[in-house]
């Protein structure tokens, strides 16, 4: 492979990436508001909007972030730490603003041997009462969401 071929490949790949990115809508700019760290969702708790039950395979749940943990109803996105525990299979979670089609992205990937695993994320919020959707691909898993700030 000569130098020119490599350059062309790189350009080709970049063009493909840019094409994919440009398909996503953009809003903003927003400013960040740091809040006292706060657990907003814990599916290990008794069944409620932001509590249990545990996620099953292929299930989606919608949680209420705005109005909790100091996040105002005007917030457009939230800074989260996503933690999973008690996974029965390797799987992934997708987080996205509720109401829209589930995007083909993953927020955290894990295996059943992980006692608990976390990843940071910034996720948009819809204006619905339950403004954040979470999808679990396989097996059962508990999901915990801790808020550290929001954007608006």
């Amino acid at each position: 492979m000569n130098k020119h071929t490599v350059s062309r490949l790189v350009l080709f790949t970049l063009a493909g990436l840019l094409g994919a990115v440009s398909a996503a809508a953009q809003t903003g700019p927003y400013q960040f508001f740091a809040v006292a760290p706060c657990r907003v969702v814990d599916t290990r708790n008794p069944n409620s909007t932001n509590g249990g039950p545990i996620f099953n395979a292929g299930t989606q749940r919608d949680f209420a972030i705005r109005g909790n943990c100091g996040v105002p109803t005007s917030a457009k996105a939230v800074s989260l730490n996503v933690t999973i525990t008690g996974a029965t299979q390797g799987s992934f979670l997708t987080l996205w603003p509720s109401g829209g089609a589930r995007p083909v992205v993953s927020t955290i990937n894990f295996t059943f041997s992980d006692p608990a695993l976390a990843n940071g994320a910034i996720v948009g919020l819809s204006t619905s009462a339950s403004d954040l959707s979470v999808y679990n691909s396989s097996g059962n898993v508990h999901v915990i969401l801790d808020v550290t700030g929001y954007f608006q």
């Binding site: 960040f32 740091a34 760290p37 706060c38 657990r39 100091g70 006692p115 976390a118 990843n119 700030g149």
Partner: protein, 329 residues
Amino acid sequence: MLRSGGPVQFPSGFGGQFNIVNAVGTFTMSTITASSTVAPNSTGNTASVTTANGGTVTFSWTITGGTITSASNITSITYTAGASGSVVLRATAYKNGTNGATFPNGGVGITDTKTVTIVTCTAPAISTQPQSVGVPAGTGVTLSVGATGTSLTYQWYIGTSGVTTSPIGGATASSVNVTPSSTTTYWVRVSNSCGTMDSAAATVTVTPIAAASFYLLTPCRILDTRGGAPVPANGVMNLVVTGKCAVAAGATSAAVNVTVVNPSTSGFVTLYPGPANTVLPVVSTINYTPGRTLANNARITIGVDGSINIFNAASQPLDFLIDVSGYFK
């Protein structure tokens, strides 16, 4: 139920005969219930036993190092302590007559003795005043007072020191956790049987959550515990972050990557705003397992004092890295 009678021996003792109507079985008597310490020459100290079962007994109290002053019934007395040393209380019940009670193990009586130490009362004195502190809105903080004196009790109040109109319910220890929604002043009254002392007031200044813009930094390692002091087991490390890695004073949050290095056990880490006496929130920032070096991306809220706290929930110390990529201000 109880009928007093027989010899009454004030001031050194008190007693009488009593009869439990229709009682059956073996007579029993508890050990003496009384405070284990009393102040010199203090009055109104109480002692009691409880009894059950068993016919007629002759019951008596004796006391040394003090004086029995009254009895609400035979088995409860009030006494005045002596000036120093100790008070020895003894309660005795024994078989009365041929129809008397039966006692455990075929005995003829029960006795119990309790020694109460006479402790010279030292009035409260405050050695460490509660400290004023600034916190971001929604963040809890622990206020503490250091005090000396005998058998101290505490009550925390909201408001000006000495004004007791707003006591905090249940706040009766040397420290209290508070999460005011707006700037609030607190103080504590320290009391014992020989006096009270009021602390100075401490103000918890609440900084409202403010809009912040993002400032990008050259990636920079702001903490690396390897070769130094690790984050302690089940403990907290306080770290000032402003002024390091070009994080500006007044920053409200930092964009970081945190890494646990080859943990020897499993656990999790919670990053939360300083100062050191901020109440630990029930959240987690990264979970880890033995032997697995692992990273997580986070935005961590910085305290008004420019510091963060790193709590390691594990039975072993942890090597920990924090790499900062930007901050919000």
